[in-house]
Symmetry: C2
Subunit: 360 residues, 2 copies
């Protein structure tokens, strides 16, 4: 086994999920993620955790959903019972075809998702962490050779997380103390309110309220957004290529949108519900090992020298206690490059200019 | 997809597990059983059942068990909760290496198995069915070419089960009405008591108390065994080749054993516990589509023109209500060819001679 696979497993088990003896762990394994799953099982055995492996396959989901009449039972008992009794949920993505569910009708997906709200909440109540095993299908999505993609993934994952967390703490402090953020770049001049909001230092560990490996971003939940923003990092949304989305905000809500490509899918997202027209997240990408976009949002949104915004749901960790934030069924991130002709201000003070942070 | 895979899925879902709308189903998928799992997912969707897929990999089990210190938590809550809320448990075996766990120490396996008794019991309380997807590793174990093995498996699985069940009902009736069974063959002259015992017409369906696909045997739980038996069908037990095992019984217990090959592994099994020296099962193989041994007990024991006996645990379905039968942690089947120079008698009457049943 490639030693990097074992190192990936160790970061996931020890740094990210903080697994201890006696933890009940669900390990969700993608069809091509077998090798990392074996390495994780070894670590779980060493730690004395209790392992149950589940199988997460787009082809199985597709076959099931297309055959179903669409009237799904709400939160099936067996799966809910499993999640409610689980301490840690580790998801290792990695299929053989990133378009495996492309022909499942959107309304069937929505019905299925809506019928599983409590199961999803139970999962979010665990110490959950999502990661990816580098597969050929993901390499293809990234337009990279397989070995090139493996290096990219391990560079992003096998970091000195403690040290990155220390660096990111500076950005968290600025956001926690600030009241207003302004982002200025080509096609972008946007102001957002962040008073009373708490930023997450997303250092790829549940100990930091961070649930992705890799991570490497600082994010908060803005409101009262005004102005315009252009997202120039290409991406795929719901199976469609999207390029240069431009959103215009008034009084916290999107009042106009356009895109060079994929305008209709952006429109669909904004119309999902009322919350989908407001921002749920402002995130600052700080993992500079991620130096290119690979059309996988878990990596892209952490890219160094980028800022991303999500329409839809906000994370509870960013909100004052008891506040539910921007209630929405969607959370869709879009990314803008801030490496050139760009600045990020907090309360009128420049904190990042052309990608360079104030402390650099 | 090979149409036989879809047919296999349909037999499993409809005939074997009798799945209905609203059933909570766990589908346990082996690493190379993906294709059958997709076909089963489609059927589960059509029926409106609720699907959770688990991943059953020998390599994951090996990595976990070898790394663990051997002090396993008893019946972890998350897995127990899952099984207790599950209506149907479908296991699709099919790995990439039938020796994947060969280097896990025997005592670690035992400790792990013993720590999971309640989980296993919860699984047996569901409408559970085990089957195999024909994989290259299983073909290799059977010493067959891959396509040859596929044909073998589908011939065994895609049967007219209703009609085989009708035929087997005749053998069940004879066993249910009889008191003493005698098996005579080369190296074999054995008598067993079956009074008060109920035979299972194992027609590959939970509706018949039958949990294997394929099945095709009639079995009961004998006692008071006297005489000697020779098992001439080759097999692998706990990773070791075993040939021509001869057991001698007095007063229901094995008093002597020998084997041309694998004598020590047979000795280990017989010494597992007190129940391991008594018979737990007498089975008559009646699936003539299984016309050769393939070193996979689920198939071999159903082979036409064979009789098998298991030392160890008896199935509850064969026992008078409330009786726990032959209490043992083991259940190891061994098989004898009855196609030539052989007869099976019930209460002195020949019911099978040289493989031919009385009604044939």
């Amino acid at each position: 086994m490639d030693e990097r696979v074992r190192e990936h497993a160790e970061v996931l088990v020890d740094w990210s999920a903080r697994i201890e003896e006696g933890d009940d762990v669900v390990l969700s394994v993608g069809p091509d993620a077998h090798e990392l799953a074996v390495a994780v099982a070894e670590k779980l055995g060493e730690r004395g955790a209790n392992l149950l492996a589940t199988y997460s396959s787009g082809e199985i989901t597709r076959a099931y959903l297309r055959a179903h009449d669409g009237e799904f039972d709400e939160n099936p008992d067996h799966e809910r019972a499993l999640l409610e009794e689980t301490d840690v949920y580790l998801s290792i993505g990695g299929g053989r075809n990133t378009s495996a569910t492309a022909d499942v009708p959107g309304d069937v997906r929505s019905e299925y998702r809506d019928a599983r709200t409590e199961i999803r909440e139970a999962r979010y109540d665990t110490r959950w962490v999502s990661t990816y095993h580098p597969t050929r299908a993901l390499a293809q999505q990234a337009e990279m050779a397989y070995e090139e993609y493996q290096e990219f993934v391990y560079d992003a994952v096998l970091r000195d997380w403690e040290s990155l967390a220390d660096e990111m703490a500076q950005m968290k402090e600025l956001l926690d103390e600030g009241s207003e953020v302004r982002l200025v770049s080509e096609g972008t001049d946007l102001t957002m309110q962040i008073d009373d909001r708490t930023a997450v230092n997303s250092a790829a560990s549940v100990a930091y309220d961070s649930h992705n490996l890799p991570s490497g971003e600082v994010f908060t939940a803005p409101y009262g957004t005004e102005g315009e923003v252009t997202f120039d990092v290409p991406m795929t949304l719901r199976g469609e290529s999207v390029r240069n989305v431009r959103l215009e905000f008034e009084d916290g809500e999107v009042v106009d949108h356009e895109a060079e490509q994929g305008e209709s899918v952006v429109g669909d997202i904004l119309e999902a519900d009322e919350g989908a027209r407001r921002l749920g997240e402002l995130g600052i990408g700080m993992n500079r090992a991620i130096d290119r976009h690979t059309d996988n949002i878990m990596f892209d949104e952490k890219m160094g020298d980028t800022v991303h915004l999500a329409v839809g749901r906000a994370y509870d960790a960013c909100l004052p206690d008891g506040e539910s934030g921007n209630d929405s069924a969607v959370h869709v991130d879009m990314i803008t490059d801030v490496s050139e002709d760009s600045r990020l201000e907090i309360d009128g003070e420049v904190v990042q200019e052309n990608g360079q942070f104030r402390w650099e």
